[in-house]
Symmetry: D3
């Protein structure tokens, strides 16, 4: 099953192309990332995941950059290399500075530390 | 070793009281949370952790609320019950609305989902 | 200590060869995977792990393919690259189709998502 | 924010009730679980999560019980207490026997063990 | 399936009793922990897990206390409440002092922190 | 943001050099690892992390090798490749034998296994 086939636009079914078109139009880019090309192996997952991401990451009370920071925090905690790269790039596009990136990683790391202190001492909820 | 002894101010050593005093002064509160009362069992860890948290969570290019959201994102991912409670309370104090909390959880959950899709398809970095 | 020495049959001790022989006979293959060649650095762990795997993965009320799917679900959740590759290969040999693989990943990802929604909302058990 | 308000049918908005109705109709039950009552605090997440679950868990090449086993494997790995309870109940309804449940846990545990042996020896992909 | 039935000695099969007897004899105690009483629901897992634990935790180049500390480090990282309790008790019996316990938790927490800094900066192996 | 710039001594600010000097003097080495060169992108995190590591890893009731083993146990559990390499090297320097390394991995793996058995059976604390 590996390496996963990455499905290019020209090789994609109509169903997949419609998702690719929507991704490119929504993000104002002219290509889709490998993530989507991999998901295209299971079109129903591609469609559902894109629709979900589009809903979840659209501006609400939290702005798009804040949402990307949260995404990054999770991805760093889980050590998802692909996701760290793609979401740090997305955050940089939205204006994340190198200094703010350093602050983000410091908070993520500290949270992972204190989560284990809370576990280790079995601290009761206040 | 359990339940962990929670060290109250009146029972604390001078070394521990100094940290408690600094926490209360910095946060403008008149008591410290159970987390700190548990760490007080190992005063050098109490001091270091507080100094680190104070540095990491102070306003920088990222504002304090954004930092709390990142903390929460990690704590939810790791399922640290104590940390989920304490950092959601801290975020609420800084103005997190119920709607924004819902958005935060949606992003955290979605990130945990797509992290596994990226793992499962072994997607190469773009 | 790295790269870990992979111990080939011809360089293996009698103790290790007996395990290799059993693996090859049980699985009807003529070579063992790198995993076993790495474990051979600690023969007692090699022997115990193989005996355990053989017991756990043998057909019971759950059939071998279902057991491989469960193995894969854990490995994708933990992002163990080696394990994702070896167990997807094992599952494919047992008949996992590309479509079923896509369904598996969709369930794994969704479970990782809803696990965090349950954490985040601290949902009480029904 | 805690304890999370669980929104009962009689207190729910029309938007939420429609999802509850669909859950009850699809599952042929006359009440919804706490998970959904908690998600109802963020109706758009409730709707999206239910639609996703309905798609992902419907029978495909993998049957519903196999999908529940995968869900359980992830939930046990992540130690999501709520999810362990709800998905083991769902699996039992679909016919999971006590013996098969024991086999499932044995596989999940063994996978978590060998994932770390693969990590620890940094075994190269075959 | 929950609460899990805890199988007491007097209700146990001969097969289970033999394992209980071995646990009590090896550990010089007159009762077994809930962990074993739960595993007894799947006797083959009970037997295999006990045999494995007995082998892995017996003194080797690493002494029993060091092995318990490693067990605890993993259990705190994974937030396994049961395991944190049982292995801290086991470590205390082997002589772990309150100070050493504090040091252990400090190392565990720091490792969880720096693991995420290494992830976040995607530091290449030296 | 990737690949992360590794800041060499000759390109480092005075603030960063002071930390590098302290690392080299404390560890009696003439170069710093990539980890520190990466953290140097955020000097305040570099300083804090080094000060914390120096405190946490210095000999106490637990000796330096035991602390490295705990570090390794966490890193293997979290699958942090960089950390596995650097802390196994540090442990080897402090005298960890190949046999003891094998024992360590066996304990780490077994703990990850039994953590999930405890989760799966939802074993109540004794």
């Amino acid at each position: 099953m590996y390496p996963t086939r990455l499905i290019e636009y020209e090789d994609a079914s109509e169903e997949v192309r419609q998702v690719y078109d929507d991704i490119m139009a929504t993000r104002k880019v002219d290509r889709v990332n490998n993530f989507w090309k991999a998901l295209a192996n299971h079109p129903v997952t591609l469609r559902r995941t894109w629709d979900s991401i589009k809903q979840v990451m659209s501006p609400g009370e939290l702005d798009p950059l804040t949402k990307e920071l949260i995404y990054l925090a999770v991805s760093v905690t889980n050590n998802c290399e692909y996701c760290i790269h793609s979401h740090s790039k997305a955050a940089a596009k939205l204006g994340l500075s190198a200094e703010a990136f350093g602050e983000l990683l410091a908070v993520v790391a500290m949270a992972n530390e204190t989560n284990r202190l809370a576990n280790g001492y079995q601290v009761p909820v206040d």
